[in-house]
């Protein structure tokens, strides 16, 4: 199902990514099931280095988001290359709650708003971000809505139990 070009690009990517971020875990995944070809897992570091590498390979940033796993955040970057081979790469950076990653907005300007959104909903203060303010929530809000403990009360827990 993978074409020759895709296979070649995947190999190249694996090598170059492994070279730039040595401690990362890189694995291929089932595109038909997950929607991405290559999975890149790393803890704490490497978001900027990966972004630069991706930019060099003419990848496009599709989205930046985060997932709150109670003890840590997982920042998810999705890159897609539609120039030649339609390869989608997912980059997952696990960061502890008190140590935010660096911004990639210098590499991909699109990330300025996307990272603002992530900050707005999770409270992740990207380092060296040019314009880190609230974007969708009110400017004077004191909460981060997409944290798992936001809005949890006894009643919502009961409702969850009921519908599960």
């Amino acid at each position: 199902m993978l074409t020759e070009g895709q296979k070649k690009l995947l190999e190249e990517l694996k090598n170059s990514l492994a070279k730039s971020v040595s401690e990362a875990k890189i694995s291929e995944s089932d595109y038909a099931r997950t929607g991405y070809h290559l999975e890149f897992k790393s803890s704490q570091t490497g978001s900027r280095r990966v972004a630069k590498e991706m930019k060099r390979k003419q990848f496009n940033l599709e989205t930046v988001t985060a997932v709150d796993f109670i003890d840590s955040f997982e920042i998810v970057y999705l890159y897609f290359n539609y120039y030649q081979d339609n390869i989608r790469v997912i980059v997952r950076i696990r960061v502890p709650k008190n140590e935010p990653p660096f911004t990639i907005s210098a590499v991909y300007p699109e990330a300025i708003w996307l990272e603002r959104e992530v900050y707005d909903f999770f409270g992740i203060r990207f380092k060296e971000h040019p314009d880190l303010r609230r974007i969708l929530n009110p400017d004077d809000a004191v909460y981060f809505p997409l944290l798992k403990n936001f809005g949890k009360t006894k009643i919502t827990d009961e409702i969850d139990d009921m519908i599960c």
């Binding site: 997950t34 599709e62 300007p109 708003w113 809505p145 936001f150 519908i163 599960c164």
Partner: protein, 375 residues
């Protein structure tokens, strides 16, 4: 003695003033707030303040089962609700590994393309109305009304369709719908001349759009612009071709592109795209396979643990759903990649140097829906 000031001597900040365009303004469809710094009528700096219609769909998703999140998706982009609904269903189907019957896929294609044409008609006509022509707007709505009537006969609703279901569609299409769709295709093909006479060839429209709001290829790629806006800048990217979903690989259609990247290019790309959509609808109607329209799925879906990203082409660009499941009936996290979000951000870059009147034209030609940005 008279001292003549050069341009450099004038303190530019003394001449600047700020203008709040929005949140309530006739041309910021919905509630979008431009904070403009103007020099006379020329925009020096533009900032978009969004979030006035933020409803927290992503948070809502974490508190309800997969089926219950379903109606929310159409509320994000109310102009292409069918596409958003279908895309959400496809994402969950991908996550659970559900095979959708061929007929259901074709029906999804037909309804999605009809919805896309409706959305493009509204987008173009809103753009034209922003430039000041009110009558073409209502002619476009006349055509759009036919689509809404058509979709109402099968889905029962005109805007938030809720037509697709996990594993297929809710109601099978009947002969009357197919005939109506064919009639509509013929009707709209006949109407393109009207739009050409009234809008495309009009000298005022040409002067207002050519060379205005140029988004170069590099800027478009850097800012993650997708959809007709990107194709108007000369990049041949369409999710329907690049990552075919829902049997789009079965149909023959072109991806119209333009190199100029100005308002006119985006308008022409949308026009050409409507024609391609009509071709797809015709092919799908011709080859509509027989069979069931809904796979056998459990009443409440419980996907396996894991995550999944699915991308599809809405009328405004590439939408992506990223779903993280922890193996329960409630999604752990749903992220929606809204195309309008990135498409709007590029205005930050291209607005300076344009007139306020151009802002309306550029904003109309990029064609964003605010509820989708705010989610």
């Amino acid at each position: 003695m008279l001292t003549i000031k050069t341009i450099d001597d004038i303190n530019i900040n003394e001449r600047l003033y700020q203008l709040n365009l929005g949140p309530q303004h006739p041309s910021t469809h919905g509630v979008l707030h431009f904070l403009l710094t103007l020099d006379g009528e020329v925009v020096v700096k533009a900032e978009m303040l969004i979030g006035y219609t933020h409803r927290g769909h992503e948070k809502m998703a974490e508190n309800r089962i997969y089926e219950q999140f379903y109606p929310n998706t159409a509320r994000m982009d109310y102009l292409s609700g069918m596409i958003f609904n279908t895309g959400y269903c496809e994402t969950v189907e991908k996550l659970c590994g559900i095979e959708v019957p061929k007929r259901a896929q074709y029906v999804r294609v037909i309804t999605s393309e009809l919805n896309r044409v409706a959305s493009h008609l509204l987008g173009i006509m809103d753009f034209v109305m922003g430039i000041g022509a009110y009558t073409p707007f209502l002619y476009g709505w006349d055509d759009r009304e036919q689509i809404l009537d058509l979709l109402e006969t099968i889905s029962g609703s005109r805007l938030t369709y809720n037509y697709s279901r996990f594993g297929g569609v809710r109601v099978d299409v009947d002969q009357a719908f197919c005939d109506g769709a064919r009639r509509f295709v013929d009707r709209l093909r006949g109407r393109f001349k009207l739009y050409k006479d009234l809008i495309t060839d009009n000298i005022i429209f040409i002067k207002r759009t050519i060379g205005v709001g140029v988004i170069s290829k590099d800027v478009a790629l850097d800012y993650g612009v997708t959809g007709p806006t990107l194709r108007g800048s000369g990049v041949k990217y369409d999710v329907r071709k690049n990552e075919p979903y829902s049997s789009y690989q079965d149909f023959k259609f072109e991806i119209p592109t333009k190199e100029e990247g100005d308002c006119m290019a985006r308008y022409l790309v949308r026009m050409a795209e409507m024609e391609q959509s009509l071709n797809i609808i015709e092919q799908a109607l011709d080859n509509l396979p027989e069979g069931p329209v809904r796979a056998d799925v459990p009443r409440f879906i419980t996907p396996p643990a894991g995550d999944c990203y699915h991308s599809f082409e809405s009328a405004r660009g590439a939408v992506g759903y990223y779903i993280v499941s922890d193996g329960t009936r409630i999604p752990y996290r749903i992220k929606v990649r809204a195309p309008s979000f990135s498409n709007l951000f590029v205005m930050n870059k291209i607005l300076p140097g344009h007139f306020v009147a151009d802002l309306v034209a550029i904003f109309g030609s990029i064609d964003v829906t605010v509820p989708e940005i705010d989610r």
